[in-house]
């Protein structure tokens, strides 16, 4: 009985962790290029609403996912344009994209509130893997395709970042843009790509919410997940593989806040848990590394301009 509860928790936590993982992976790449994107929340929610709208209109959830990814990419490009080309403050840029996204998504999705999605993404059971005793049923049974894809994506992105030339280029732009520039790497172009990719991933994360996890639209349905993804980026020390564990942990916090624990603790107080744990996680990481954020790309948040004397 208790074992079943634990396994069920693991399964649900994995489902909950999916949007966090996708968004955090995108932000990890963005930040490894040296740019902070505080617009993740806005890009997620725009992905969610546009995904839902397209899904409802066409009945094709994977087409909807593609469009949501595109919307995320466009918002990422907007952030890149404002913070890199216009060289405006990147914190303000991201923040305003979040405020804008939250506002616009509310307007766009107004007439969809309360509608169930006609054709949602189906759950998939992985053959063979699901037959592993205990963990097989928990991890590989009846999850959405995006959940599995997120895990695979994390591994691919980890390999790409550490063991390919392009990954090395991306890292160098975030660590030492000057070194990259003198090596002939177009620093700002690489950053553009990374920020756009971060937007794409946030768009997918949002679409997962409205097309797969809870196939419906609700205003503000991302509920701060974009911000938690930003915190996860730090908590995972900018490493795609560690992001799997970090997002799983927070998926568990989200799941637990909806469970039977509610009979013991007031539901409102339980719902706070992921947000409190975010602060705790950031504190723990900070305590672990002292004042210097080791693991953060050295040029994080610093715009690069050549020819500065």
């Amino acid at each position: 009985m208790e074992l079943e509860l634990i396994l069920n928790t693991i399964a649900r936590a994995l489902a909950f962790s999916t949007p966090l993982l996708w968004a955090a992976l995108g932000e990890i790449y963005t930040e490894r290029s040296g740019v902070v994107n505080l617009g993740v929340e806005g890009m997620m929610i725009m992905g969610a609403v546009v995904g839902f709208m397209v899904g409802q209109a066409t009945g094709l959830p994977y087409l909807a996912l593609l469009v949501a990814a595109l919307v995320g990419t466009l918002m990422g490009l907007a952030h890149a344009f404002i913070s890199i080309t216009l060289n405006a403050n990147q914190f303000v840029s991201g923040l305003s994209l979040t405020i804008f996204g939250l506002g616009l998504s509310g307007l766009l999705g107004r007439s969809y509130v309360g509608q169930p999605l006609n054709v949602a993404m189906k759950s998939v059971t992985v053959p063979f893997l699901s037959e592993i005793p205990l963990l097989g049923p928990a991890l590989f049974t009846d999850q959405k395709l995006l959940t599995y894809a997120g895990l695979i994506m994390a591994i691919i992105l980890w390999f790409f970042l550490n063991y390919t030339r392009w990954g090395m280029t991306l890292r160098s732009v975030g660590e030492s843009p000057k070194a990259a520039d003198t090596a002939g790497i177009p620093v700002n172009q690489v950053r553009y790509l990374a920020v756009a990719f971060g937007g794409l991933m946030a768009g997918v994360a949002g679409a997962y919410l409205s097309l797969a996890y809870r196939p419906s639209w609700g205003e503000g349905m991302t509920n701060g997940m974009g911000w938690i993804a930003l915190a996860l980026t730090i908590f995972a020390l900018w490493d795609p593989l560690r992001a799997i564990g970090a997002s799983f942990l927070f998926g568990a916090f989200f799941y637990l806040s909806f469970t039977k624990l509610q009979t013991v603790i007031a539901p409102e107080l339980l719902t706070m848990m992921p947000y409190i744990m975010t602060i705790v996680a950031l504190t723990v990481i900070a305590l672990g590394q002292g004042k210097r954020a080791f693991g953060a790309p050295e040029a994080l948040g610093i715009p690069y301009q050549r020819g500065e004397r």
């Binding site: 063991y163 390919t164 030339r165 392009w166 090395m168 280029t169 890292r171 160098s172 660590e175 030492s176 000057k178 070194a179 990259a180 520039d181 003198t182 090596a183 002939g184 790497i185 002292g290 004042k291 210097r292 050295e298 050549r306 020819g307 004397r309």
Partner: protein, 516 residues
Amino acid sequence: MAVAKPSPFNPDKTPHRLTMKGISKGFPGVLANDNVSFDVRPGEVHALLGENGAGKTTLMNILYGLYQADSGSMSINGEPVQFRSPKDAMREGIGLVAQHFHLARRHSVAENIALGLKGTPLIYPVKALEQKIRTLGTSYGLAVDPKAKVWQLSPGEQQRVEILKALIQGAKILILDEPTSVLTPQEAESLFGVLRRMRAEGEAVIFISHKLDEVMEIADRITVLRKGAVVATLDKKEASPESLARHMMGKAVAPLRPKTKPPLDKAVLELNNVWVKNKRGMSALKNVSFKLRHGEILGVAGVAGNGQADLIEILTGLNQPSEGHILLEGKDCTPLGVKGLFEAGVAHIPEDRNHMGIVPSMTVAENLVLRQYRYQPFSRLGLLDWSKVTEFAQTSISDYQIATPSKETLTRLLSGGNVQKVILARELSGEPKLVVAAHPTYGLDVSATALTHDLLLKQRERGAGVLLVSEDLDELLKLSDRIAVLFAGELMGIVDASRTSREAIGLLMAGRKAQA
């Protein structure tokens, strides 16, 4: 001192590998390069000599495609070229070893070298390269572990990485910008060995420096820059340190200022067995003890990064020693902190004058009270009295001849020399007991340097103790009564400035204790 081997090429008959003609480049407010012409032949070390700010680095950044010249032309092996980015320059065989290394600190040596390299495989980009680095390293005397992370390396080793990077990229013209500034004299000697080997291989080397001796040692030809323009291009045979200095400074070097009073016997500052831990938890200062007397200038020499910055931090309260005591006029002031030490009469002329010494976005008047704003008469009951600040600013501006349009001008608009005057005016106005000056003339022009020296000597006359940290040995020898040398956080010895030589200090800087 090793004698330079003659190059196998006959310099006069070989065509120029590089020619720069009539290069000009302006920045807002300065003309950094003014119609500069310059050339290098294969198998030649051509030195570019000039003071800080003479335009050497700008010229090389143009050659490397980091800046575009406003006018002028360049050709390589007789072919005209135009560089829009370092990529273009690299393609034409130009390699740059910058003064501040362009290395990603958390990448491995091999990754740093692979970055700009053509034909790097997409997957596992550094595997094949690592072997190549080892081979080339041994053949040129540039051994370094390709798997090591750059932050683990000493500055000398990092420089080797930069040179290897340029060589592997196929550099035919190697630019070295102030390469010895981070090296001990002994490390510098081994660098010269590498350069001689490159010269023998027919490479062209551009050696940028402001140090006469090393230029005389390694260069075949010397071009002197002053205020952005070429003053002379000389063959080594027809040059002497004296003539080079004349070209560089524009006028004869000022005579030493005679020191009138000997220092008093009373110590103003005393360090007893001081240990300091740096941010990584390693000992940055090890068991350092010394005394500094009233009316004395104690110079501190050492290669950058051997504990000078840490010494300054504990003397000015920015950091605390982990063990040991700091006594100011006999009183223990170890735990006082920045505010307490300032109140106790310690002035601090910081190394990074634009980031630490001033707030660039504040006015000159505000910066003149940056450290004393909280005391009477500038501040009372938590309120600032701007009329008193204005008064003080006006006096300081005229006393220290600060060239500023007004006291309300933003300080970032001032030139480096005037920024330093603002700092000096602020720090010296309170008649401090101890002046801690970190590289006070770095990057200043001749007149601002002279003024700074003058002010420090006046503090000495007044009876204050002055701790002068500098990388400029000439400055230390000229101003100091005694010179303390730091190596790897240890005090190697204190020598009498009037009875020592550059060589003796060089040995101490390299970590050899003084013999007898």
